[in-house]
Symmetry: none
Subunit: 229 residues, 2 copies
Amino acid sequence: MGKKAAYKVLVVDDEEPILELLKYNLEKEGYEVKAALNGHLGVDIARKFKPDLVLLDIMMPHMDGVEACRQLRAMPDLVDTFIVFLTARSEEYSEVAAFDVGADDYITKPIKPRALMSRISALFRRDTKGKTTTSQITVGDLIIDRSSYTIKVKGKEINLPKKEFELLFFLAQNPNKVFSRDDLLQNIWGSDVYVLARTVDVHIRKVREKIGDDYITTVKGVGYKFNLI
Amino acid sequence: MGKKAAYKVLVVDDEEPILELLKYNLEKEGYEVKAALNGHLGVDIARKFKPDLVLLDIMMPHMDGVEACRQLRAMPDLVDTFIVFLTARSEEYSEVAAFDVGADDYITKPIKPRALMSRISALFRRDTKGKTTTSQITVGDLIIDRSSYTIKVKGKEINLPKKEFELLFFLAQNPNKVFSRDDLLQNIWGSDVYVLARTVDVHIRKVREKIGDDYITTVKGVGYKFNLI
DNA sequence: TACTCAGATTAAGGATTTGTTAAGACCCTG
DNA sequence: CAGGGTCTTAACAAATCCTTAATCTGAGTA
């Protein structure tokens, strides 16, 4: 799996073994993880860490999950954060109570790592779906369609490899704007991927080879841009 | 749909009193009823329950009715399911939006139980009469028939196992659109089944073996798509 | 003209993703 | 409970993509 900008996950549970289990699995999936041993600490960490997802045990000393959730929900920075409760099947909290304080999901222990990871990635997938940018861009005789990962040049359909497609799509989305190689790396490769800036040249070359030289212009000393004619 | 087995109805509304009212009346009429307090739960329950009818409040916390409907419509098991929106007259959602995401009907609150029950039974009556559901897809020399779980390739009829069929059917229903392995697992296996993503590969392979390599394309790093030629 | 610098091009390897096969688990049905 | 079919996993092979490094071009300039 290519690494994207890592989602941040905060895990709050008073049992250390569970904390470690979760941390280990989440990091293996490429998430950036912080852990807290009780609700109080969790809220404190969340304030600075601004996680995208909080896994929250319901039963804890020093502030239980429900109260912690209430406080998290009150932080403006966390409006887009997912909060998921962890709870033993035997515990008496009802789902209703959990959703009442603003939880987004509800997972019962014992935790099966694979299942949990799958649910989490589904959560984020749904998230990004909502704010999908326009999935099709048309410029002259060039049609770029994100949903099918194909482009059409003069009626001829071409399949682009992922990186090339992302690169073209990104540039075309911001026409006439020049991006430095670093900008492009940042936006397409992600902030935590380190590759040489020259790599961009190669991809640009390949894209040009497929769509022609007219669409992407080099601005010497600066970068590349997609030109709207 | 079987005529002996009771029709299954799922009611999704965030107001408990309404939920109870509907549940009571529907059960009195002999339907098998499940209830959910928000769209999120509704979608989860629907996946397993496979209702014949979903009554869906439009305004709800944790996923509104429109989004829930969209997700319900994406489930292969629910192709024959009726989806009916419930809405207060004052609410701003337009009928158009509702029908856009695949709603079958539209009922305004306050709900009059007798009227609603009559409308529902009318719905099912209509169903059993003209059950020429469009559960058949034809693409080139490929015919996919849901009612018999059978496909025809170049006149030759083939019986597909369930998973392979669902996979092909789902892809063919959204032609030219790329789905990640996770998307496919989510939609075909369900959100509560945790299977390795690579399992999809194997099923793809088997489907290709039976229908040929031309219909399903791999988009490396992204997923698979069914291509309309 | 020759030099320099930035970008263009190319090819090779390494890395990653997908294809393919097979084995075991599971579930029906006879 | 044996046999056939299905589903999932694991392991290895194959494909292809990505990155790097090395070399080439061409414009600007001394």
